[in-house]
């Protein structure tokens, strides 16, 4: 078999595996969310016998789903923006300056990523409670998410800062640009993709985070994941869980696709490598 043919087959099988990996869970989730309570979906049937939007309507009207969505979709963007703002100065130092102990500092900044989430959650929440965040649960969770996921933002923004070209900064200066204008013309275009990527990553992790949100938020502050897990806890209703997981994941997919487009248009220099 020729090399090209082999490559083609490998490529197609990879695409197929990826597609299945996405399509099967999504299809299953969608089908389960449409199961009508009057007739259960038993293992001997390929499709649910009766399909309706009953579960969607039921959850929308009879659970804290609306509040959970409001909470999650205010939490995640706030955490994303805050993490980006806090990560940027550190990333600037890592990406543009040289100072003694830089590589140690860079490793330390990534450390939170390797500690299991639940361990951090248990101890970090105790710390936050002591700081008085028991009375402002939203703030506590935002802060916790920010700290937990900032390493991603620091890492991404460090790479972005490294791609800023010194000769662009110098050229801007040489042509009389003020500090502010230098940032606008030399830094921002190179940083844009990193900014979008950091926002998205922290947003997605925050939307999906359970441990901290559960410990800090319970009992009265619900997010989509804590609602989802509570639906699983007492008497597990698979169709309800399917509805919630779809609500959790669908926006992420669209965000991801949107980001891909934005990144492509953000920096023509990265698209061609010249300039």
């Amino acid at each position: 078999m020729s090399q090209a043919k082999l490559n083609k087959i490998l490529l197609y099988s990879l695409v197929a595996v990826c597609a299945l990996w996405l399509i099967i869970p999504f299809t299953m989730a969608i089908l389960w969310s449409l199961v009508d309570p009057t007739k259960p979906w038993t293992a001997d049937k390929l499709l649910p016998p009766v399909m309706s939007f009953y579960r969607w309507q039921y959850l929308w009207e009879n659970s804290s789903l609306q509040q959970a969505m409001i909470n999650s979709y205010t939490l995640a963007p706030t955490a994303a923006v805050l993490a980006l703002v806090l990560a940027t100065p550190t990333a600037f130092a890592f990406g543009r300056l040289s100072f003694p102990g830089k590589s140690v500092a860079q490793t330390l900044a990534l450390l939170p990523l390797i500690v299991p989430g639940f361990v951090t959650a248990v101890f970090f929440t105790a710390f936050l409670f002591r700081l008085g965040f028991a009375h402002w649960r939203f703030g506590g969770i935002v802060l916790a998410h920010c700290v937990l996921f900032m390493p991603f933002a620091v890492r991404i923004m460090t790479v972005s800062f490294e791609t800023v070209r010194q000769d662009h900064i110098d050229a801007a200066r040489d042509l009389g640009a003020s500090t502010c204008q230098r940032w606008k013309v030399a830094y921002l275009p190179a940083l844009k993709p990193g900014v979008f990527a950091s926002l998205l990553i922290v947003f997605i992790y925050s939307i999906e985070e359970f441990a901290v949100a559960f410990i800090l938020g319970s009992p009265d502050f619900v997010t989509i994941p804590t609602l989802l897990f509570s639906q699983m806890g007492q008497d597990f209703v698979r169709p309800n869980a399917a509805v919630l997981s779809l609500i959790l994941v669908v926006p992420n997919v669209f965000l991801m696709l949107g980001l891909e487009k934005l990144m492509r248009s953000a920096n023509p220099a990265l698209a061609s490598g010249k300039g």
């Binding site: 050229a171 801007a172 040489d174 042509l175 009389g176 003020s178 300039g275």
Partner: protein
Amino acid sequence: MYAIEIQNMKMAFGRFEALKDINLQVSKGEFVTLLGPSGCGKTTLLKALSGFLTPTAGDIFMGGETVTALPPESRDTALCFQSYALFPHLTVKENLDFGLRQKKVPLAERVQRVDRVSEQLELGAQLDKLPNQLSGGQQQRVALGRALVMQPAVILFDEPLSNLDAKLRDSVRIEIRRIQRENNLTAIYVTHDQAEALSMSDRVVVLNGGRVEQVAAPKEIYNNPATSFVADFIGSANIMDAEVVGESSPGQWRLNTPLGELVSESKSRPKGKNIKVCWRPEEAKIHGTGLNTVSSPIRDVSFQGAYSDLFLTTNGCEIRLQAREFGLKEGDVIDYSIPPEHLIMLEAN
């Protein structure tokens, strides 16, 4: 009053001295090249002139005023980067306009100046393109235009042609010189290419290891190198050790060299007893007779088109000659003579 005057300038990075005691005066409208091997401090000197580096010692004056402490954004200089450094997300027009906007030039004048420069550089058709849609030569012209449009008191070039292919290099070189003359710009041009330096400059500054070896017009640099470094770096002269024996008649110096006793004609006295001497491969007369005639077998012949390079070893001394005669071959013994006025006495050994 000089357009640029550098006084006793030193530049150190930590313990390393990149520039040692630089003195230089450049007049208005002059085109001066900084020539030297890689790492000799050309870029460092250019950065000191544009303001990106502050000298460790000494002063820089432009138009009679000290600029040593001025940052780049406040200096009346414009730098043409080796990498072009065009802003990739701005169109050609926006790139050209960028500096004028920073300096708050009125809109009408900005438009007029950008138009003029894009016409001068034939960039009219490219104005709405992004830099990465242009060829290397066009990008280089935009970089040039972006500096020109500022109408700076001093324009600085850092090896602007090094990313272009040989053919394009010649035409851009001529173009740079034409525009510099047309606008009566004072230009400092950095290069490590001696042909570029000799063909473009009013004066050449030869740098070596952070020191100025010689400052002179191209012809003077070539015909009367001040040091063996200059003689070797430009046009690879034959360089030999010599011992001064005495003055046979006024201006005629007898020298003991590996090629035997030779005479050098010079108005100035030698700089010591043991010195270095040099002569150009093309100045020796093949089949010459009389004064300074040497006889030697040919070790190697290398055909170069218009001439042949002959390589000889005389008394352990490697010699290069240029011959317009093409019948010579390896092993032939030839006589050649070095005209005394072309045997140049250099620094003391």
